[in-house]
C-alpha cells in the first residue's frame, strides 16, 4: 500500500509541477467566462446592428396583410410575377413572396424567392402567419365579427412543479435542469477523454523511457497501474477544485464590477451547479429568477453524485486507457485500440442529446444511465430531471462492478504489455495476454 502511495505521489507531483498544468489551471477560469461573455456581447451587438430586411410581397389575392416587424420590412409590389421577379433579382433585398389569387379552402401556389436558401424556421414562420390569416378570413366568412375573433385568441402558460412523495411541491424549470444535465454530462465526457488520454500517454512514456522494468521489480504491475490511474485522477480533481474556486471568485468580482449585488454563497452555488460565466445573465431580475430556481436544486446531492460518477467513470475508462498504453510502443499504434474505448463514450454523449433531453425518463435513457460504460455521462445528464433513488443506486452499484471488472481486465493486459517492446500487437495477442498466467 505504501508503494502505491509513492507511485500516486510521483504521478501527482510530476504533473502538477509542469508549466502546462499551471497555465491551464489559471487560464481556463479566465478564458471560460471571457469566451462566454464575448459571445454574449457579440450576440447582443449582432442583434442591435441587425439591418431590417426588405421583403417584396406580390399579393394577387388581396386578402392578406403584412405588418412590418423589427426584422422585416414588407413592401407591396406590383405584378405581374415575372416583372416582380426581375425587379427582385436585381435588388439586394431579402426575399420575394408571391401570393396568387387564392381559393381559401385550398390555398396553393404561394411561392418564396430569395437569393440564398432560407432556413426551415423562416418558411415555417411565414406559413404560420398566412395560415392564421386565412383562418381568420374563414371565420369571418362564417359570420364572426372582429371582436369575437379577438376573444378567440387565448394565451396559455404552464407552470411545472415537481411533487415529492411527502407532498412538497417545488417549482421546476426544464431550462435549468436541461442546463445542469448538459453541463454535467459534457464535463464528464471531456474529463474522461482528457484524463484518460493522460493515463495512456503516461504509460507509453514510461514504456519508451524503459523505466518500467526497474519499477516492476519493486512494485507489482497492478499496483503501478492503480497508482498511475489514481495519481492522474487526483491531478484532475485538484484542477477542477481550483477552477471552481477561481471561477466563483472571478464571477463574483465580475458581478460586483457590473454593480449587481449577490450573496457570495449563492454565487458559488450557482457557479458549481452551472459552471457558466455569469455574464450570460443580463439583468438583475433574471438573476433573481434564476437564483430561486438554482436554490431549489439539491446542490450537495448533485455535486456528490458528480464526483462519484466522474471518479467511477474515470476509473473504468482510465484502466482501459492504461491497458492500451501498455500494449503499444507509440501513441500512433494506440489508434487501433482506441475505437472500442471511444465508442461507448460517444454513444453516451449522443444518447444524451438524442434521448435524454427529449425524454429523460424513456427506456433508452434509463438503460443508458444504468449500463456502466455510458452511465457516468447519461446519469449526470438525467440527474437534473429527478431520477428515482433506486435507479441511482442501481447505476452506482453497477458502475462499481464495472470499474472493478475493467481494472481487473486492464491489469492482466498491463502486466504483460509493459514488458513487451517492439511486439506486433493485435486483438488476438491481447486476448492471449489476458489468458496468460503470470
Amino acid at each position: 500500500m505504501n508503494k502505491i502511495f509513492l507511485v500516486i505521489q510521483r504521478e501527482f507531483m510530476s504533473r502538477v509541477k509542469k508549466k502546462s498544468f499551471l497555465l491551464a489551471t489559471i487560464l481556463v477560469p479566465l478564458l471560460f467566462p471571457a469566451i462566454i461573455g464575448g459571445m454574449v456581447y457579440l450576440a447582443i451587438e449582432n442583434e442591435k446592428n441587425k439591418e431590417v430586411e426588405v421583403i417584396h410581397v406580390l399579393d394577387e389575392s388581396g386578402i392578406l396583410t403584412f405588418e412590418d416587424t423589427e426584422s422585416y420590412d414588407y413592401q407591396m409590389v406590383d405584378g405581374p410575377l415575372d416583372s416582380a421577379k426581375a425587379r427582385f433579382s436585381t435588388s439586394s433585398d431579402f426575399a420575394l413572396i408571391y401570393i396568387p389569387k387564392l381559393d381559401i379552402d385550398d390555398p396553393e401556389g404561394i411561392k418564396f424567392y430569395a437569393h440564398t436558401s432560407p432556413g426551415i424556421n423562416l418558411i415555417g414562420g411565414f406559413e404560420g402567419k398566412i395560415e392564421r390569416q386565412i383562418r381568420d378570413v374563414k371565420l369571418t366568412r362564417s359570420g364572426l365579427n372582429e371582436e369575437q375573433l379577438e376573444s378567440l385568441k387565448t394565451y396559455v402558460s404552464i407552470e411545472s412543479f415537481n411533487l415529492s412523495e411527502t407532498g412538497d411541491e417545488k417549482k421546476s424549470d426544464s431550462g435549468v435542469t436541461f442546463g445542469i444535465g448538459y453541463v454535467m454530462g459534457f464535463m464528464i465526457y471531456i474529463f474522461l477523454f482528457a484524463y484518460g488520454a493522460q493515463v495512456m500517454q503516461g504509460v507509453i512514456e514510461e514504456k519508451n523511457s524503459k523505466i518500467v522494468e526497474v519499477i516492476v521489480s519493486t512494485v507489482r504491475p497492478f499496483h503501478m497501474m492503480i497508482g498511475k490511474v489514481i495519481g492522474v485522477a487526483s491531478v484532475g480533481i485538484a484542477q477542477v477544485v481550483i477552477w471552481m474556486v477561481l471561477i466563483s471568485v472571478i464571477s463574483f468580482a465580475g458581478m460586483a464590477a457590473f454593480g449587481l449585488s449577490m450573496d457570495p454563497a449563492e454565487t458559488a452555488q450557482m457557479m458549481q451547479s452551472t459552471n457558466e460565466g455569469a455574464s450570460a445573465i443580463q439583468s438583475n431580475e433574471e438573476i433573481q429568477k434564476a437564483l430561486t430556481l438554482v436554490n431549489d436544486i439539491p446542490i450537495t446531492k448533485i455535486v456528490s453524485l458528480f464526483v462519484f460518477f466522474f471518479l467511477g467513470g474515470y476509473l473504468l475508462y482510465g484502466a482501459l486507457f492504461a491497458a492500451v498504453g501498455s500494449a503499444v510502443d507509440t501513441p500512433a499504434d494506440a489508434q487501433q485500440f482506441m475505437m472500442p474505448i471511444m465508442m461507448p463514450i460517444l454513444v453516451a454523449l449522443m444518447g444524451l442529446m438524442m434521448f435524454v433531453f427529449p425524454d429523460p425518463h424513456g427506456t433508452v435513457s434509463f438503460w443508458l444511465s444504468i449500463i456502466p460504460f455510458t452511465s457516468p455521462i447519461v446519469m449526470m445528464g438525467r440527474i437534473g430531471f429527478g431520477v428515482p433513488a433506486w435507479e441511482i443506486a442501481l447505476s452506482m452499484a453497477l458502475l462499481i462492478v464495472g470499474f472493478i471488472f475493467t481494472l481487473w481486465l486492464a491489469g492482466r493486459i498491463y502486466r504483460i504489455g509493459i514488458l513487451m517492446h517492439g511486439a506486433k500487437v493485435n486483438y488476438k495477442v491481447l486476448a492471449k495476454w489476458l489468458m496468460q498466467k503470470n
Binding site: S14, V214, I215, S217, L419, Q436
Partner: protein
C-alpha cells in the same frame, strides 16, 4: 554458503519453453556470471528472481527462505532495457527509486547524495535526466541499483553505453561492493569482462543450463592439452603422443605451431621431444578463454562436455 538457491525452475510461455528445469546455487559474496546467447532464457530467470514473473515449477530460496515480497528490498536490479523518467530531476529520481526499494525518504536522500558525490555527478543533482549524457544517466541507474545496499545485485549488461574510463570506474565499484559483502549476478555477452570479474559462471542455452561452476574449475575442465610453441631452425612434425595442428610464420625467422598433446600428460615429456627437433623460444599451454568455451558450447562443438 549460497545466498540464492534456484531449484528446478521451469517456465513456459504459450508456445515457447523459456526455462527447463534449471537449478543453480549462487555463492555468497561472489560475482556470478550468468551467460548465454540471446533468447536462451537469462532474462526470464532474472525476472523470476526479481519476482516480476512467476515460474511454472520449482522454487527459489533467498538466504534460506523461500523468495517473497520482503526480499525486494534486499535485491538491486539493473535491467538490460533500462531508463529513467526523462522529466524528473536526478535527485528526485534517485530518492523515489530508493523509497520504492524500502528506504525512508531521509535515508534515501542521504545515500543518493553520497553516491552522487562518489561518482562525481553531484553537480547534476537538480538537472533533469533529459539534459544528461547517456553515460551520466547510466551512472544514475547504477546508483539506483545499489544505493539501498542490497545483499543481491543483479546487473544485466552493466557496461553497455559506458566509455572505457567510466566502465572501469563501475567495474571497480562492482568489485568493491563484492568485497563489502554483496553477491552479484552479472549477465553479459562480453566475455572479457567475465574473465576479469566473475568468480563463478553458469551458462544457459536453449532454456537449459549447460554449464555451472567456478571459473577456475571450468577452465580446468575445458583444458584440452594443446600447446603453442615458437621456435627456429626447422619444422615441428607430428610425433608419438602428440599431433601438429597448425604452423605459421611469425617473422624474424620464427615459426609458431599449435600442438595437440594430452591434458593429463606431463608437458616436460612433450618439450623433451621438441627440443630434439628445433630451437624453442617459447612454450605455453593454450588455456581456453571464456569466449572459446562460450562459442564451442553454444555451437555444440563439444556435445560430450555439456554434461559437466
Amino acid at each position: 554458503m549460497s545466498l540464492l538457491k534456484v531449484e528446478n525452475i521451469s517456465k513456459s510461455y504459450s508456445e515457447h519453453q523459456a526455462l527447463t528445469d534449471v537449478s543453480m546455487e549462487i555463492p555468497e559474496k561472489t560475482i556470478f556470471g550468468l551467460l548465454g546467447p540471446n533468447g536462451a532464457g537469462k532474462t526470464t530467470l532474472i525476472r523470476i528472481i526479481n519476482q516480476i514473473i512467476e515460474s511454472d515449477q520449482g522454487s527459489i530460496l533467498f538466504d534460506g527462505t523461500p523468495l517473497n515480497a520482503d526480499h525486494i528490498r534486499n535485491i538491486g536490479y539493473l535491467p538490460e532495457e533500462r531508463g529513467l523518467y526523462k522529466k524528473m530531476k536526478v535527485g528526485e529520481q534517485l530518492i523515489y527509486l530508493g523509497q520504492l526499494r524500502g528506504l525512508s525518504m531521509k535515508e534515501s536522500s542521504k545515500r543518493a547524495k553520497a553516491w552522487c558525490q562518489k561518482l562525481e555527478i553531484i553537480d547534476w543533482w537538480s538537472k533533469k535526466i533529459e539534459d544528461l549524457s547517456k553515460g551520466m544517466a547510466q551512472k544514475i541507474q547504477f546508483i539506483s541499483t545499489v544505493m539501498h545496499e542490497p545483499k543481491l545485485i543483479i546487473l544485466d549488461e552493466p557496461f553497455s553505453g559506458f566509455d572505457p574510463v567510466n566502465a572501469n570506474l563501475i567495474k571497480d565499484e562492482i568489485l568493491d561492493l563484492r568485497d563489502k559483502g554483496a553477491t552479484i549476478i552479472f549477465s553479459t555477452h562480453r566475455m572479457e569482462s567475465v574473465e576479469q570479474l566473475c568468480d563463478h559462471v553458469a551458462m544457459i542455452n536453449k532454456s537449459q543450463k549447460i554449464l555451472d561452476g567456478s571459473k577456475v574449475d571450468i577452465k580446468e575442465q575445458f583444458r584440452d592439452g594443446s600447446y603453442f610453441v615458437e621456435y627456429k631452425g626447422g619444422e615441428v612434425k607430428s610425433g608419438s603422443g602428440y599431433e601438429l595442428i597448425s604452423t605459421e610464420d611469425i617473422g624474424r625467422g620464427l615459426k609458431k605451431s599449435l600442438i595437440q598433446y594430452s591434458a593429463e600428460g606431463n608437458p616436460n615429456d612433450l618439450l623433451k621431444q621438441l627440443i630434439g627437433q628445433v630451437e624453442i623460444h617459447s612454450f605455453v599451454e593454450r588455456i581456453p578463454s571464456m569466449n572459446d568455451i562460450f562459442i564451442s558450447l553454444v555451437k555444440g562443438e563439444n556435445p560430450e562436455l555439456t554434461e559437466a
